[in-house]
Symmetry: C2
Subunit: 92 residues, 2 copies
Protein backbone atom coordinates (compact mmCIF):
# COMPACT_ATOMS: atom_id res chain seq x y z
CA UNK A 1 0.00 0.00 0.00
CA UNK A 2 3.04 2.24 0.20
CA UNK A 3 2.90 2.72 -3.57
CA UNK A 4 -0.66 3.97 -3.24
CA UNK A 5 0.23 6.57 -0.61
CA UNK A 6 3.19 7.69 -2.70
CA UNK A 7 1.02 7.89 -5.81
CA UNK A 8 -1.63 9.91 -4.00
CA UNK A 9 0.85 12.47 -2.68
CA UNK A 10 1.03 14.37 -5.95
CA UNK A 11 -1.70 16.88 -6.91
CA UNK A 12 -1.46 16.13 -10.63
CA UNK A 13 -2.01 12.46 -10.00
CA UNK A 14 -4.99 13.18 -7.78
CA UNK A 15 -6.39 15.37 -10.56
CA UNK A 16 -5.99 12.46 -12.99
CA UNK A 17 -8.00 10.27 -10.62
CA UNK A 18 -10.74 12.89 -10.49
CA UNK A 19 -10.88 13.01 -14.29
CA UNK A 20 -11.14 9.25 -14.45
CA UNK A 21 -13.94 9.20 -11.92
CA UNK A 22 -16.15 10.95 -14.47
CA UNK A 23 -15.19 8.72 -17.41
CA UNK A 24 -12.49 6.51 -18.85
CA UNK A 25 -9.97 8.48 -20.89
CA UNK A 26 -7.05 7.87 -23.23
CA UNK A 27 -3.55 9.01 -22.25
CA UNK A 28 -3.79 11.84 -24.73
CA UNK A 29 -7.14 13.04 -23.41
CA UNK A 30 -5.72 13.07 -19.90
CA UNK A 31 -2.63 14.99 -21.02
CA UNK A 32 -4.90 17.56 -22.66
CA UNK A 33 -6.05 18.70 -19.19
CA UNK A 34 -2.55 19.52 -18.03
CA UNK A 35 0.07 22.11 -18.70
CA UNK A 36 2.72 19.44 -18.89
CA UNK A 37 4.31 17.31 -21.60
CA UNK A 38 2.93 13.91 -22.55
CA UNK A 39 5.96 12.01 -21.31
CA UNK A 40 5.47 13.58 -17.88
CA UNK A 41 1.84 12.53 -17.83
CA UNK A 42 2.85 9.09 -19.00
CA UNK A 43 5.17 8.86 -16.01
CA UNK A 44 2.38 9.83 -13.61
CA UNK A 45 0.04 7.32 -15.21
CA UNK A 46 2.66 4.65 -14.76
CA UNK A 47 2.93 5.38 -11.03
CA UNK A 48 -0.85 5.26 -10.67
CA UNK A 49 -0.90 1.97 -12.52
CA UNK A 50 1.83 0.47 -10.35
CA UNK A 51 -0.16 1.50 -7.29
CA UNK A 52 -3.22 -0.26 -8.76
CA UNK A 53 -5.17 2.96 -8.61
CA UNK A 54 -5.86 2.82 -12.35
CA UNK A 55 -6.10 0.15 -15.02
CA UNK A 56 -4.85 0.54 -18.58
CA UNK A 57 -6.15 -1.22 -21.63
CA UNK A 58 -4.84 -0.90 -25.13
CA UNK A 59 -7.51 -0.14 -27.68
CA UNK A 60 -6.12 0.19 -31.18
CA UNK A 61 -3.66 3.02 -31.16
CA UNK A 62 -4.77 4.37 -27.83
CA UNK A 63 -4.40 3.30 -24.24
CA UNK A 64 -7.56 3.79 -22.24
CA UNK A 65 -7.17 4.45 -18.54
CA UNK A 66 -9.86 3.76 -15.95
CA UNK A 67 -10.17 3.91 -12.17
CA UNK A 68 -9.47 0.79 -10.18
CA UNK A 69 -11.25 1.27 -6.87
CA UNK A 70 -10.02 -1.84 -5.08
CA UNK A 71 -7.01 -0.10 -3.57
CA UNK A 72 -9.12 2.92 -2.66
CA UNK A 73 -11.10 0.60 -0.46
CA UNK A 74 -7.94 -0.63 1.25
CA UNK A 75 -6.85 2.92 1.90
CA UNK A 76 -10.22 3.90 3.33
CA UNK A 77 -9.97 0.93 5.67
CA UNK A 78 -6.54 2.15 6.74
CA UNK A 79 -7.98 5.58 7.55
CA UNK A 80 -11.05 4.29 9.28
CA UNK A 81 -8.72 2.56 11.71
CA UNK A 82 -7.66 5.99 12.94
CA UNK A 83 -11.07 7.53 13.13
CA UNK A 84 -12.78 4.60 14.75
CA UNK A 85 -12.78 4.79 18.51
CA UNK A 86 -11.44 1.78 20.36
CA UNK A 87 -14.24 -0.03 22.14
CA UNK A 88 -13.81 -0.75 25.84
CA UNK A 89 -12.46 -4.30 26.04
CA UNK A 90 -10.76 -3.90 22.69
CA UNK A 91 -7.37 -3.06 24.13
CA UNK A 92 -4.47 -4.21 22.04
Amino acid sequence: MNDAFKALSDPSRRKILHLLKKQDLSAGEIAYHFNMTKPSISHHLNLLKQANLVDAEKKGQQIIYSLNTSVFEDVVTWFMDFITKDEEGDKR
Copy 2:
Protein backbone atom coordinates in the same frame (compact mmCIF):
# COMPACT_ATOMS: atom_id res chain seq x y z
CA MET B 1 -5.44 18.85 2.22
CA ASN B 2 -2.34 18.60 0.04
CA ASP B 3 -0.16 18.81 3.14
CA ALA B 4 -1.97 15.81 4.57
CA PHE B 5 -1.41 13.69 1.47
CA LYS B 6 2.24 14.72 1.40
CA ALA B 7 2.63 13.93 5.08
CA LEU B 8 1.01 10.53 4.67
CA SER B 9 3.29 9.51 1.81
CA ASP B 10 6.20 8.61 4.10
CA PRO B 11 6.27 5.23 5.91
CA SER B 12 8.03 6.64 8.98
CA ARG B 13 5.35 9.26 9.39
CA ARG B 14 2.61 6.66 9.04
CA LYS B 15 4.37 4.61 11.69
CA ILE B 16 4.35 7.64 13.99
CA LEU B 17 0.60 7.96 13.50
CA HIS B 18 0.16 4.30 14.40
CA LEU B 19 2.18 4.78 17.59
CA LEU B 20 0.05 7.79 18.52
CA LYS B 21 -3.14 5.88 17.92
CA LYS B 22 -2.27 3.68 20.90
CA GLN B 23 -1.28 6.54 23.21
CA ASP B 24 0.06 10.07 23.34
CA LEU B 25 3.87 10.16 23.35
CA SER B 26 6.68 12.64 23.82
CA ALA B 27 9.03 13.42 20.94
CA GLY B 28 11.74 11.37 22.65
CA GLU B 29 9.50 8.35 23.12
CA ILE B 30 8.56 8.49 19.46
CA ALA B 31 12.20 8.76 18.39
CA TYR B 32 13.01 5.71 20.52
CA HIS B 33 11.01 3.55 18.07
CA PHE B 34 13.11 4.57 15.08
CA ASN B 35 16.58 3.99 13.79
CA MET B 36 16.96 7.66 12.99
CA THR B 37 18.29 10.74 14.76
CA LYS B 38 16.06 12.93 16.89
CA PRO B 39 16.35 15.93 14.57
CA SER B 40 15.05 13.78 11.73
CA ILE B 41 12.09 12.67 13.81
CA SER B 42 11.52 16.26 14.82
CA HIS B 43 11.31 17.16 11.15
CA HIS B 44 8.73 14.44 10.49
CA LEU B 45 6.71 15.53 13.51
CA ASN B 46 6.73 19.05 12.20
CA LEU B 47 5.30 17.96 8.84
CA LEU B 48 2.59 15.95 10.59
CA LYS B 49 1.77 18.95 12.73
CA GLN B 50 1.58 21.28 9.74
CA ALA B 51 -0.79 18.84 8.09
CA ASN B 52 -2.95 18.89 11.22
CA LEU B 53 -2.56 15.16 11.59
CA VAL B 54 -1.09 15.54 15.07
CA ASP B 55 -1.26 18.08 17.87
CA ALA B 56 1.67 19.05 20.08
CA GLU B 57 1.50 20.32 23.62
CA LYS B 58 4.40 21.39 25.76
CA LYS B 59 4.42 19.77 29.18
CA GLY B 60 7.40 20.85 31.24
CA GLN B 61 10.51 19.84 29.42
CA GLN B 62 8.75 17.54 27.01
CA ILE B 63 6.47 17.99 24.05
CA ILE B 64 3.61 15.55 24.00
CA TYR B 65 2.25 14.57 20.61
CA SER B 66 -1.25 13.25 20.04
CA LEU B 67 -3.41 12.30 17.04
CA ASN B 68 -5.69 14.90 15.56
CA THR B 69 -8.38 12.97 13.71
CA SER B 70 -10.21 15.88 12.12
CA VAL B 71 -8.12 15.80 8.95
CA PHE B 72 -8.34 12.03 8.80
CA GLU B 73 -12.05 12.49 8.45
CA ASP B 74 -11.58 14.91 5.57
CA VAL B 75 -9.33 12.45 3.81
CA VAL B 76 -11.76 9.58 4.28
CA THR B 77 -14.44 11.76 2.73
CA TRP B 78 -12.13 12.39 -0.21
CA PHE B 79 -11.65 8.67 -0.72
CA MET B 80 -15.29 7.79 -0.27
CA ASP B 81 -16.00 10.01 -3.24
CA PHE B 82 -14.14 7.53 -5.44
CA ILE B 83 -15.65 4.39 -4.00
CA THR B 84 -19.21 5.63 -3.90
CA LYS B 85 -21.18 4.81 -7.01
CA ASP B 86 -22.97 7.71 -8.64
CA GLU B 87 -26.70 7.38 -8.18
CA GLU B 88 -28.87 7.60 -11.26
CA GLY B 89 -30.04 11.22 -11.40
CA ASP B 90 -26.92 12.35 -9.56
CA LYS B 91 -25.05 13.25 -12.72
CA ARG B 92 -22.59 16.07 -12.32
